[in-house]
């Protein structure tokens, strides 16, 4: 769709940005994943031995509320998967299950070919899965560098190695081009975008092999969006990190993701390569579903 290649990104708002010309190669496609994965949800043929992550028949209920019905999903080595869907479709629930924060009711999670039962966030991290939550999980009362190393603190037993953490945090943020007054600042004193950037930086530098980003571009200014997209692209080029991105902006999703999954009513309703779909198509599907539900409700009992 876009003409972006890793060397010359095209940003939202730029002239070359999401044209309604689907099917054009986007330069991010040279992956070993078979191309015939589109709309393969629910079948088993989509699974590829190269997958770092596979989710099969996952379901989750919260009392009377069914968040996930039957989710099947896979993620190849080095792939960036966009997860879209309206509010309440279960995106965040899925992410919280994948990072070990919540347990699914049923279903299998397979990481690098091994079936795992994620017991805790720590356990998921030890398997190389890390997440940036929608609520960022930052501690307002702590400094930027303590937040960046939260629960992964560097210790010269028994004391914290603050100097090392401070220096490393500064280096990471400099590398990312994140502009904050000081790594000693309390997180409470930073802007929404800065907070988001710190949360993303924290996950990016945590050595995660599977990175889960829950709306990483929310509350971001145009410059900060560009910054985070650059970071994701960088990771993509390195190839050792696989990423699932939740986002609302379909244009941004198609821009950085190799593949898009649409979550609707707790199921994957669509699974297509970014090059085979368009903002228009995704929009149409979501809006059509909305109209259908509306009609159903308005139908006289």
């Amino acid at each position: 769709m876009t003409t972006a290649d890793p060397g010359g990104p095209v940003w939202p708002g730029d002239p070359g940005w999401p044209g309604e010309t689907p099917g054009q190669p986007d330069g991010l496609d040279d992956l070993s994943v078979p191309a015939d994965v589109s709309s393969g949800a629910g079948t088993s043929s989509w699974a590829d031995p190269n997958d770092v992550l596979r989710v099969e028949h996952l379901s989750k209920r919260f009392g009377p509320l069914t968040a996930l019905v039957d989710v099947n999903l896979h993620l190849a080595q080095g792939e960036i998967l966009g997860l879209i869907g309206d509010n309440g479709a279960g995106k965040s629930t899925l992410l919280k299950i994948l990072c070990g924060f919540q347990a699914p009711d049923t279903g299998r999670i397979v990481i690098n070919g091994q079936q795992v039962a994620l017991k805790s966030v720590d356990h998921a991290r030890s398997l190389g899965i890390d997440a940036v939550y929608q609520d960022l999980a930052l501690i307002n009362q702590l400094s930027v560098y303590h937040n960046m190393f939260l629960n992964r603190e560097r210790v010269r037993w028994p004391l914290l190695n603050n100097r090392s953490m401070r220096q490393t945090a500064r280096r990471y943020l400099d590398e990312l081009g994140v502009n904050i007054p000081s790594v000693d600042s309390q997180v409470a004193s930073l802007s929404g975008g800065q907070r988001q950037a710190i949360a993303v930086a924290r996950a990016v530098y945590s050595d995660a092999k599977i990175l889960l980003l829950d709306e990483p571009l929310a509350a971001m200014g145009a410059k900060e969006v560009a910054l985070i997209l650059d970071v994701v692209r960088d990771l993509k080029r390195r190839g050792d990190v696989s990423i699932i991105v939740i986002a609302h902006n379909y244009g941004q999703v198609l821009e950085i993701c190799d593949r898009v999954n649409l979550l609707q009513h707790g199921r994957i309703a669509l699974d297509k390569r970014s090059s085979e779909t368009s903002v228009q198509e995704l929009n149409d599907i979501v809006v059509a579903e909305y109209r259908r539900a509306l009609l159903e409700r308005q139908r006289p009992a």
Partner: protein, 352 residues
């Protein structure tokens, strides 16, 4: 209070050491005010110094404040407040409170006494078991609060009452005296004049380092500041809260033993709510947030000294006990008002 300690307190809050960047000469005064506001503990320290100067040099009790007897008395008022506050500060920071240490305090020396007298347990073992009892009570508080989800205010109120009942029934509500074979060790725990304040100071240093310089302290602040976020980061919130409740129980038991050896009396009606309330007041005066997320050991230490100087000072200048409480309440309120106003000033300083 050393400068290093001040800076350490500043670091954990993420405040950069030193004042705001230099500006015009006109802004100098404001900068000074903002700087003073940033160092919450500094205001309490100034109040303590003013009180000491007043009671030592200006009041009608001139000459009797700085006597050895009175300084021992002052330290013995301050030490229990400090030590119990050392348990309360981390709990307040992680969003909980413990109302029971005063009752652990009453029961611990009785437990020691019973073990020695009725069960022939060696003195040192009896002391250790009494301290362990404090840990167990703390664990129970943690269980009620964290595992069963009872608000800590109610949970620890309950354990406090239960402990008080146990103390009264087991002692038949009569006083006892520490056994003669325990007095030797007891001197080091609380018998010598300055033993208690020495312990209080040493424990305060340890607690300060733990709170500001270790993962445990950092995670305590994280749990109080953003419990969900801490959990999402993989911090074991339950472990942090259990641990802090247990420390509070342990310190409560320790204070009880100290007082027993200091006064040579084991009193079933010792402790109660008063020491806990003094300690919570001291912590809050020293800048600990009642809603969690922030607080310092240094502040609580100075707050405790302030309350002790007030109590002892009015004693020295011979004010009757009745108006003392009015002055006391007023002092707490003034300290709190000053704290909140300075916090606003602090926020202004940060915004610039």
């Amino acid at each position: 209070m050393s400068d290093t300690a001040q800076r350490a307190a500043g670091t954990i809050d993420g405040r950069p050491p030193g004042g705001p960047p230099p500006g015009s000469a006109l802004g100098g005064l404001r900068r000074a005010a903002v700087f003073a506001g940033r160092q919450r503990e500094l205001t309490v320290l100034v109040v303590v110094i003013l009180l000491v100067v007043y009671f030592g040099f200006l009041s009608s009790g001139v000459g009797s404040f700085f006597t050895r007897v009175n300084l021992i008395n002052l330290s013995q008022i301050a030490a229990p407040i400090v030590i119990i506050a050392l348990g309360e500060v981390p709990l307040l920071i992680c969003g909980e409170i413990d109302l029971s240490p005063g009752f652990v305090y009453a029961f611990a020396p009785f437990l020691m006494y019973f073990l020695i007298v009725y069960h022939g347990v060696p003195v040192l073992a009896a002391i250790v078991i009494s301290l362990l009892m404090g840990l167990v009570v703390g664990w129970v508080n943690g269980f009620l609060t964290v595992t069963l989800g009872i608000p800590s205010f109610i949970a620890t109120l309950g354990t406090g009452f239960v402990l008080y009942g146990i103390t009264l029934t087991s002692s038949n509500a009569t006083q006892a005296t520490p056994t003669t074979n325990s007095v030797g060790i007891g001197k080091w725990i609380g018998g010598y004049g300055f033993a208690e304040i020495a312990w209080a100071f040493a424990l305060a240093v340890i607690c300060h380092v733990v709170l500001t310089r270790t993962r445990w302290g950092l995670h305590t602040i994280a749990v109080g500041g953003n419990q969900l976020g801490a959990r999402e980061a993989g911090i074991n919130v339950a472990r942090i809260k259990y641990g802090n409740f247990m420390v509070s129980g342990l310190l409560g038991a320790f204070v009880g033993l100290q007082i027993a050896f200091q006064t040579s009396v084991i009193d079933p009606n010792a402790g109660g709510y008063q020491p806990m309330f003094y300690s919570v007041a001291a912590a809050v005066i020293g800048g600990t947030a009642m809603l969690g997320g922030s607080g310092t050991i240094i502040g609580a230490f100075l707050g405790s000294i302030m309350l002790a100087v007030l109590t002892d000072g009015f004693n020295v200048i011979g004010i009757s006990a009745y108006p003392l409480n009015e002055i006391f309440g007023g002092a707490i309120l003034i300290a709190m008002i000053a704290n909140i106003q300075l916090a606003r000033l602090r926020a202004t300083g940060r915004a610039r």
